[in-house]
């Protein structure tokens, strides 16, 4: 019985190793069908079709980024029209300061939309992923280092309502997982 981490600390979950993307993909489908909720598969690269195999929903990041983009656009509108049309009208080359000046204002509106959208995309992704963080219980397991190289892992967390150490262990074994290990926290 393999154990990783501090044995006194609470159990984070049970993890198993798989040797290829195909096995991980099939295992994910079976874990989903078994009705687990708090679990994840780990791989060196994103696996095509894994979202369906795990039954996870589409990432909502796109909608958040839309709001970010809108913020950028409205910032530019305020920044340009506020001073130029109202606070400090600046007439250059006889150009209007009303709505007809939009073509000349457009490049900055566009650039700020892109800028704030990009920030929202990156930081939104990090926040939704719970990153950045310096440590995680899974890092207590030495074999897990290979997850960024060429090995594939499954972890069922102890917070799952259907979790019990023995049944999770047997279940992962029946799926063909190897090196099944109980992961403790620090």
């Amino acid at each position: 019985m393999n154990i990783a981490g501090n044995k006194e600390a609470p159990v984070f979950g049970i993890a198993a190793e798989f040797s290829c993307a195909r096995d991980l993909y099939h295992a994910a489908g079976k874990i989903r069908d078994a009705g687990f909720q708090r679990w994840d598969v780990f791989s060196p690269f994103p696996i095509h079709g894994m979202d369906e195999a795990m039954g996870t929903k589409r990432s909502v990041l796109g909608k958040i980024v839309f709001l970010g983009g809108l913020t950028g656009f409205l910032t530019a509108v305020t920044m340009e029209f506020g001073p130029t049309s109202f606070l400090y009208p600046l007439i250059v080359a006889g150009k209007p300061t009303n709505l007809f000046t939009v073509p000349a204002f457009f490049p900055i509106m566009f650039e700020l939309t892109i800028l704030i959208s990009a920030f929202t995309a990156v930081f939104g992704m990090l926040i939704m992923n719970g990153l950045p963080r310096l440590n995680h219980a899974l890092f207590n397991w030495d074999r897990f280092k290979k997850v960024t190289e060429d090995k594939f892992f499954v972890a069922i967390e102890s917070g799952d309502p259907k979790f019990s150490e023995r049944s999770a262990r047997d279940f992962l074994e029946s799926l063909g997982g190897t090196n099944i290990t109980t992961i403790h926290g620090d």
Binding site: R22, A28, F42, P44, S59, M79, L112, A118, A121, V122
Partner: protein, 468 residues
Amino acid sequence: MPEATAMIEKPGDEEKGVIRPPLVLNKRTMGWISSYISSIVEDKTPTWWWVSMGVTAPMTLMCLALLAYLVATGVGVWGNNHPVGWAWDITNFVFWIGIGHAGTLISAILFLARQKWRTSINRAAEAMTLFAVVCAGIYPALHVGRVWMAWFLAPVPNSNGIWQNFRSPLLWDVFAVSTYFTVSVLFWYTGLIPDLATIRDRCTSKIKKAIYGIMALGWRGGNRQWRHYEKAYLILAGLSTPLVLSVHSVVSFDFATSVIPGWHTTIFPPYFVAGAIFGGFAMVLTLMIPACAIYKPLHDLVTVNHVDKMCKIILLTGSIVGYAYLMELFIAWYSGNPYERAAFWYRAFGPYWWAYAAMMFCNVIAPQMFWFKYFRTHLLWVWIIVQFPNMGMWFERFVIIATTLTRDFTPSAWGMFHPTWVDICTFAGTFGLFTTLFLIFIRFLPMICMFEVKAVLPEADPHHGEDR
């Protein structure tokens, strides 16, 4: 290029006798990809690196020293003078910013177009983008003369009773270039996170592990992370695509919205963007061919097929640029505007005829060699030929800027431009800065996107080896 877009062999293709060439040669495994690319970062610093740094680091210092001299003395140490108020500074700015465009094209546009061959070159190309934009940024920042007042460009409330003119293309440029740099950094760093995690997990020394561990942000590679990650990457690619097209368009607006004959043309934005991609791909090849010659096993990842495709893009964009040159001449004649006609006459036959001839030869004629497969697939030839676009694109900007300004509307205001030694040495120094940054990048960060290359291996497919 359908043979490269999908490399997973489908049963139907075998029946038709179509065999897709693999993107990674010699059946390299995932483990090999990680070990080899990380080893470039992990091994002892090689001698060639120190030798190269010994050349480029002093050049960088020279650049910085001359910039300090400029700030201390004044912008008059450059040769800019009436009538050529924009000279090498803007030429070099447009030259460097253009080079950056290929990196974004590879990382964003080819990603959206599902061109999987981009995976092995995008990291280095994006790094090249950043370093080129750093070199470019020097010129607009320093040519304002009193650099400590550069913050006047930023729309921050101040007590000077001034506010920015948002209708000025020069201010558009500030927003375009700074957005471009910021978004490129974000895109590049996002792509680096999983690979930094690879290096973190392989580290043996505690200090290195801490540094790479912090930079990897705690990445674990869970699918619940990947799904947001992939979405973010897709969105960034989608944002960068219009951005990269807008940046050089805005740069061209600096010229096109003026009323100077030879600048005031609508063809400028597309022609600048095509030229930027053309010159940028030449610079990608200029850097990648020697890098792969030093790290020979990289030829399994950056194959001759990759080089062949990049050469085809150079041929295409070079021909677009050639078309734009000819169209400019045609429109100058067809417009009937005597000033427009005179401007182009002076470009081709005036005192700077040699710059125009160099531009035509390097950008239009030399890349035509790439019609022949032999020249696209022999790396030494490719490297030699792409030096022509590198030079030609600089001459193009010189022709557009200096040649146009030397001939003002009235002959009494005519005058030539002469670069000073500061001009020349600063420009040489930016090459040192660019190369130094690239050498540091090769040494400390994985120069090939490992996780993306793994994802295009046949065994990355979850149905690999199954009958469908």
